[in-house]
Symmetry: C2
Subunit: 268 residues, 2 copies
């Protein structure tokens, strides 16, 4: 009988290998806590410079961590062994501005003109917040943060435009203050919150109605909703851009890099 | 006819001289905006070391900016010309743990054993916040921030103990976030807020019921109440300590120093 190796969930290389082999399909917010995770955005080369400009114009939502050469599924600055075609747990495929499907590999969709972007993700600052004593109830409950579409418009660039997407954490007020101060020091992981406390002011009328329909959407009486700009903003921009092909990670299946959070914290 | 000099309200030396001569009796939050203002606490020498220990144990409320020699009404490190007996617009006098009276000079109360403390004040960080674009409605309306007694206990030292007093500013959420991050970088002026958004959690059941009965106590629908530790905490401690004599500034009549806010910002 073949012996099945125990997965070292703290090692991003091991988790990526397990994803590639179909042995790991969970959300990634509970693995490799010391390492940077990122949002995935893959676009045709003709739109790549415009997308980079869009990221730079909306850096709080889309902090640029890496960009591949056209046709290369690798970003050596983030990992020597990452293959973006197989190493993400699930992908969302957009065609001509419509959701085309969700898949567990994009090897068969790969083209020589595709350019991959990896953007900072709040999972990296959640690790940082927790290490500094901030209580994150959604993690304690095995959940992820909920996302919401806001009434805040991003700054357009080329074909890319659309509303800002935010992630929400339910925090006790003293933790909200600490999380605000701590995250402000981490611009590569979205920086300070964009909103706190009064979601109706940014177009969120019902916390139960989250973008993507997942995540912790309830508040306790002693909690405030605190909102950070979210890399899922790129997915909305992909829909608006109407590209013939665009691929992102799906839900909370992020790109695992081999860069330590502490090492990248002050990058950029 | 004697010509009355126009008061240079930006110059703390000129305002102190006007206070000394009875020509200025307003709250000080609209004068000398570039200069550090402080809370005043005068105690008998036998209690001075205990009060300093109390300040250090509750540094967010009582950041120590200066301490005089016994019997001296001067603190040269804060101003070459300050005389604390005459240069504050109004004083509160406590005797044996009771409020004894409010006066405009304490020259006739002065004793050779009195020690003066000056503690950081939120007026200094209000200037800093405004210069960095935070909208402070209470200032726009010519008001001061309201203070509240909380259910949070300070750390006792010697005879000094009592509840934490906080100051409240009504801020729009984006300003609340910026004010939180900015004030966190200024520990000498109370640092980050101690609470945001849910005042009932810190024992404040009615914003209209402020400590001292003054200040902006109303919220608009698009504002959050944000609370910082306040130097008035020393006044409550003075009441609890029951000293035979204790003198503080009265309400928003603060000690004006000649130290620039920017110069002192990273002090301590």
């Amino acid at each position: 009988m073949a012996e099945r190796a125990t997965l070292d969930r703290h090692d991003p290389r091991a988790v990526r290998q397990a994803i590639r082999e179909g042995r790991f399909r969970d959300f990634t917010n509970h693995v490799a806590p010391d390492y940077v995770q990122g949002n995935l955005m893959i676009v045709p080369a003709h739109a790549a410079d415009a997308f980079e400009a869009y990221c730079r114009a909306n850096a709080q939502a889309l902090p640029l961590l890496g960009r591949s050469q056209p046709g290369s599924p690798c970003i050596p600055s983030l990992s020597e062994t990452l293959d973006v075609r197989t190493d993400v747990g699930a992908y969302t495929v957009f065609r001509n501005g419509d959701l085309s499907g969700v898949t567990m590999s994009i090897a068969d969709l790969w083209r020589d003109d595709l350019v991959t972007f990896v953007l900072g993700c709040s999972f990296s600052f959640e690790s940082f917040l927790r290490r500094n004593g901030v209580r994150l109830r959604h993690l304690d409950e095995g959940n992820v943060s909920a996302m919401y579409r806001t009434s805040i418009a991003t700054t357009p660039a080329g074909p890319f435009r659309g509303p800002l997407i935010v992630s929400m954490r339910a925090l006790r007020p003293d933790d909200a203050i600490r999380a605000t101060v701590l995250s402000a020091s981490r611009p590569m992981f979205h920086g300070a919150p964009v909103h706190i406390g009064l979601p109706g002011l940014i177009g969120i009328d019902d916390l139960a109605d989250s973008y993507g329909g997942h995540g912790l959407t309830t508040l306790r009486d002693d909690e405030l909703p605190v909102f950070w700009a979210c890399g899922a903003t790129a997915q909305m921009a992909a829909l608006h851009a109407g590209l013939d092909l665009c691929i992102t990670h799906h839900k909370a299946h992020m790109v695992l890099t081999d860069r330590l959070i502490e090492e990248m914290a002050n990058y950029g």
